[in-house]
């Protein structure tokens, strides 16, 4: 083989690999490296502190609160989004103009930018004049503070996330439901299977790859949440909506504690890595492939 022919594949992948190495792989290592130092970004000196940043992090009440927020936010968002999407998928899995319109309606938030949605919901959730308070007033509830109160702020953000995410997940579920061969249902009908049994023993297992896929995507996205927090609550009130990425942003860009922020970043990395590994483990065990 000519020399050029041997080198050619490498030349073809080189640009992409270069981009990935420079902007994805290297930054990870750089971040891990920085987490072992104390640095305020301006001074040319970086002080080596070993694992001190990590120790400080786990002793910092604020960080522990942040971790707790992240997990609660993720847990709520994922369960609500996936649960509601599954329900909607079963309900809306029909053809017809009306169902087409409804599917389009629930999908529309997906392609709108997160900024727009955050701004819109900030207005909707305005404690004084927002539409949301008017709506719940119709059902007999009093006005809520939504984003302005530490007890309701995080859940408000969850509502926004679910509103944005439900459409996409529902449509993916519908696609998954439609890919289940019809004759399996016919066989079940002949076996006199009741609706709940059919769902539990047939639909659910056949949908399980899709479910796991969406759960993982949702989880990863939830841990990475930033825009909504930045625009709607800036982490408050009283740190009730401060989550990992926002925390990193604060300490890196506002407080200039680069090492500390990097350490928090490493923690995020570990969480994401564990989630990904869990996903692939679970995938091979519990998922049923028809």
């Amino acid at each position: 083989m000519a020399l050029w022919e041997k080198l050619r594949p490498y030349a073809m992948v080189a640009p992409a690999i270069l981009v990935f190495s420079l902007f994805f792989i290297y930054p990870i290592f750089y971040m891990i490296y920085l987490s072992l130092f104390e640095w305020n970004f301006i001074s040319p000196v970086k002080t080596f502190v070993g694992l001190q940043n990590f120790i400080d992090l786990f002793q910092d009440e604020e960080f522990l609160q942040v971790l707790k927020n992240s997990f609660i936010y993720t847990f709520l968002t994922v369960t609500l989004t996936i649960g509601i999407s599954l329900f909607l998928a079963l309900w809306l899995n029909r053809t017809g103009i009306i169902y087409g319109i409804v599917q389009g309606a629930i999908f529309s938030p997906h392609i709108i930018s997160l900024v727009s949605i955050s701004l819109l919901w900030s207005w909707l959730m305005d404690p004084e004049y927002g539409l949301l308070n008017w709506v719940i007033g119709l059902f007999g509830f009093g006005k809520l503070q939504w984003l302005s109160h530490p007890d309701t702020a995080l859940i408000s953000l969850v509502i926004v996330a679910v509103w944005k995410g439900v459409g996409f997940n529902t449509l993916v579920f519908i696609a998954g439901l439609q890919s289940i061969p019809k004759d399996i249902y016919e066989a079940a009908a002949l076996d006199q299977s009741k609706p709940w049994t059919t769902f539990y023993k047939i639909t659910l297992p056949m949908l399980s790859p899709t479910i796991f896929f969406l759960v993982i995507i949702c989880m990863l996205n939830s841990f990475q949440v930033f825009e909504t927090i930045y625009i709607m609550t800036q982490g408050g009130p009283v740190n009730s909506t401060n989550t990992l990425v926002y925390y990193i942003y604060q300490y890196g860009f506002q407080f200039f504690k680069i090492g500390y922020a990097s350490a928090a970043g490493v923690i995020l990395l570990i969480i994401l890595a564990i989630l990904t590994i869990l996903y692939f483990r679970l995938l091979s065990r519990r998922v049923h492939y028809g």
Binding site: K6, R8, P9, Y10, M12, V13, P15, A16, V19, F20, F23, I25, Y26, P27, Y30, M31, L34, L88, I101, V102, G104, A105, I106, S108, P109, I111, I112, S113, L114, V115, S116, L119, L120, W121, W123, E128, Y129, L131, W134, W163, G167, L171, V172, A175, S179, T210, F213, L214, L220, Q224, E227, I231, V245, Y249, F253, I258, S262, G265, L268, T276
Partner: protein, 301 residues
């Protein structure tokens, strides 16, 4: 024996026997009720998603005092078109718009340049280390911008590349997702086709550009849509990488409206939001089917 009429049969069957007509009615009623409930449910569902947008439109035409009313009024007295003008003038919006275009298009072009050859190489060549390199590519799928923004920011700062198009475009100059999709597509091209092309004296680049790429067009179009929309809507990365208006993009411009006038002027803000949202919403309603198909069916790998 003469046939009996329904009435004649009735006494034989017992007094609680209903003639068939009534039984049919109760089933019909039940079905009707279910349909009504279903209809109500669907309407509520659509409202949950349509009302916020309707509210946004309504607000954008109000005067400020009109927004500070509870319970809220839906229809403003007059259509205050001025809100849009004010929103547009809060910042150099045309400049932001151009920046968004430059960034989104720039990213897309670079992605095409890096993704197509890489996908082809991974799909059709065997070379040492291909497994490792491909694995590395796939790992970047798990590395979101939110994880690496700090170190990349520090890098860019050190190279004095903040507030340049480079900072906004280069990190996204390639796409692992694109490579993954396109590789699948290329792998599905039968070997025979490429052999025929070789016998037809085609050089490698001709095979790629004239045969493989046209065959992968649907995938490429889908990917282009994904990429363009994602980077057009991106708020986070430009936020981190810019400190002034030089390369600032549209999402940042819109969000800034809040801070311009001191207090939050919801009407102007919503007008600005309309500018950002309406184009996409219109395109969506026109091409709904294709867009949904593209996004959803590529989610179902």
């Amino acid at each position: 024996m003469p046939l009996k009429s329904a009435d004649q049969l009735a006494p034989e069957r017992g007094s609680d026997w209903l003639p068939p007509v009534a039984t049919l009615n109760s089933v019909k009623v039940a079905r009707f009720v279910i349909r009504v409930i279903n209809g109500i449910g669907l309407t509520l569902l659509v409202l949950i998603f349509a009302l916020p947008f309707a509210w946004m439109i309504s607000t954008s035409f109000k005067t400020l005092p009109e927004t500070m009313v509870f319970p809220p009024k839906w229809l403003p007295e007059n259509l205050v078109w001025e809100n849009f003008v004010r929103a547009w003038n809060t910042g150099p919006f045309l400049h932001y718009f151009m920046n968004s275009v430059i960034v989104a298009v720039g990213i897309l072009c670079l992605q095409m340049l890096t993704v197509i050859p890489a996908a082809y190489a991974f799909a059709r060549y065997q070379f040492r280390g291909s497994g490792f390199l491909f694995g590395m590519t796939m790992i970047t799928l798990m590395i979101p911008a939110q994880l690496i923004f700090l170190p990349v920011y520090l890098q860019m700062s050190a190279w004095k590349l903040l507030d340049t198009y480079f900072a906004l475009i280069l990190p996204f100059a390639s796409s692992a997702f694109g490579i993954f999709l396109l590789r699948q597509s290329f792998k599905q091209v039968p070997e025979e086709l490429i052999e025929a092309a070789r016998l037809d004296n085609a050089k490698e680049w001709q095979i790629i550009l004239k045969i493989m790429v046209p065959m992968a067009k649907p995938v490429l179009v889908t990917f282009a849509m994904f990429s363009f929309i994602a980077h057009w809507n991106d708020y986070f990365w430009p936020l981190v990488m810019t400190t002034n208006d030089t390369v600032r993009t549209l999402p940042l411009g819109i969000a800034q409206i809040r801070h311009v006038e001191g207090i939050v002027t919801w009407n102007v803000l919503m007008a600005g939001n309309m500018i950002l949202v309406m184009p996409i919403l219109i395109v969506f309603f026109l091409a709904q089917r294709q867009i949904i198909r593209a996004f959803v069916y590529n989610g179902v790998k």
